[in-house]
Point group: C2
Chain length 329, copies 2
Amino acid sequence: MKVLAIGAAGMVGRKLCERLAKDGKLGGKPVSALHMVDVVAPSVAGAAFAVTGEAADISKPDLAPRLIAARPDVIFHLAAIVSGEAELDFDKGYAINLDGTRHLLDAVRAENLKAGGAYRPRFVFTSSVAVFGAPFPDGIHDDFHLTPLTSYGAQKAIGELLLSDYTRKGFVDGVGIRLPTICVRPGKPNAAASGFFSNIIREPLVGQKAILPVPETVRHTHATPRAAVGFLLHAATIDGEKVGPRRNLTMPGVSVTVGEQIEALRRVAGEKAVALIERKPDEMISRIVSGWPEKFVAQRAKDLGFAAETSFDEIIRTHIQDELGGKVA
Amino acid sequence: MKVLAIGAAGMVGRKLCERLAKDGKLGGKPVSALHMVDVVAPSVAGAAFAVTGEAADISKPDLAPRLIAARPDVIFHLAAIVSGEAELDFDKGYAINLDGTRHLLDAVRAENLKAGGAYRPRFVFTSSVAVFGAPFPDGIHDDFHLTPLTSYGAQKAIGELLLSDYTRKGFVDGVGIRLPTICVRPGKPNAAASGFFSNIIREPLVGQKAILPVPETVRHTHATPRAAVGFLLHAATIDGEKVGPRRNLTMPGVSVTVGEQIEALRRVAGEKAVALIERKPDEMISRIVSGWPEKFVAQRAKDLGFAAETSFDEIIRTHIQDELGGKVA
């Protein structure tokens, strides 16, 4: 089984490739080769199969045909200009997030037509809950419309429509997964408006202070990096017939308030950790966050076997296992 | 007020231009110029303002910048490869329906940036209820998701997302309207699967036989060409602030069963007309039609003042007035 991973140097992409290297197989079938692409050449250690990496730009029309000419059986498309950057650089966002995705699908279609329909790879597209835009119902159900309020969200929603249509026409076998906010995000605190959801857990667990810029009543949905990799692997191997014509799925997650996040931290790591959270209200961040979805029903994904954590305690414990070697400072 | 109409030679586009020529104004302001574009050069008679027409292809990237350089105040974008053709010619459908729309929006953005934001025209985009795909709830509400089951529907849904995003960014002032099936469609019976909805009214009204290929229980939503022109004119002049960030609206219409259509025909034109309808079940047409939406709530559009006919009797009477000089054969 040949795997192509685009956007393989990002946080989730890297973890996906590490997992493939460790497992050596996908859906029970041995992986024979993994080709990784990103703006910087990605690499992964410890694989028993052939691994290659290259730095490339998917907005360039000649890249996708070359990548697809190798006829990968599974394509993971995780490459994207993220929300903030796509908002600041309109052209770059559309070039990578829309044109890049379309180049890939068109290259698959060309190869499909060349093979008389015999080449029809699974194409896993990472979409985002940014396809949704306020105002929202209490829980966002699977047939709620997509009215994105960012260019990134619009580009992801367009990618979803292309994925569905190219799948319906038989050119590709696509599955799109809308990832919730990934938490606990490893690494350093960053400037993203959503950063505090992870910061207030990750930093106290290593004895560092963290800033909480919003009220504890703010509700949001989370899944760990490990759950995100699980979504990707399941999306790569699930029976397309079972998914049916609606190829884009909202992934499950744990919907909690910030207050509930903090209570979970108290249960898992004690008062000492909680004491490191410093409340410093930020009106701009509060306003941005107030436009974000709070809770997803994600019934279809659950029925199709996509599984996230079931409590925020579990999210914290997963982070401690995967990033801190099982130990809390 | 300068008006640009793209797709001006189609049935609705032609009626729109005729109406502009007759009214001489739009939203109370005098029209100073109308430029019409289509694959064949459109023309309209009787206007008191400057009228020009040209044959051109919106999939060519150099056309849109030239059209927009004239800085029209209102742009009507009706050009499209229709459903059946877009299904047969995948590349052509995407070239016109997606790339063509994007070229226009990008040209407006370029002109907007050149003018330091001062040029921000109203852009009326004709979308379609083909953005929806079965299975449906009883009445399709305004926040029902778009899961098109044709390439045409996917291309229109993508156009809607682009329109919203370019509007949100302040490059254009877009309003997208999802037209229901236009009935009674003037002209000759055609091969479209939806043709019978009009045929069974139009043909008997002029003493001709018409074939009914589906059961009388089939339900569908209709609006006249006159209502469609009304939607376009209202979309061109409505206060964008009132529309808000969700710029794409499902238009209202009359939801009736075929049986109710026939009863209306009986009331308006008598038994003699009804007797000209010949039942000839066609399984393929029945199957296609069974995947189509039956009924729209269209509450937002109604609240915003978009008005269709309120009964099928009124639809038939409008056809008799507009197409038959008020007389029934």
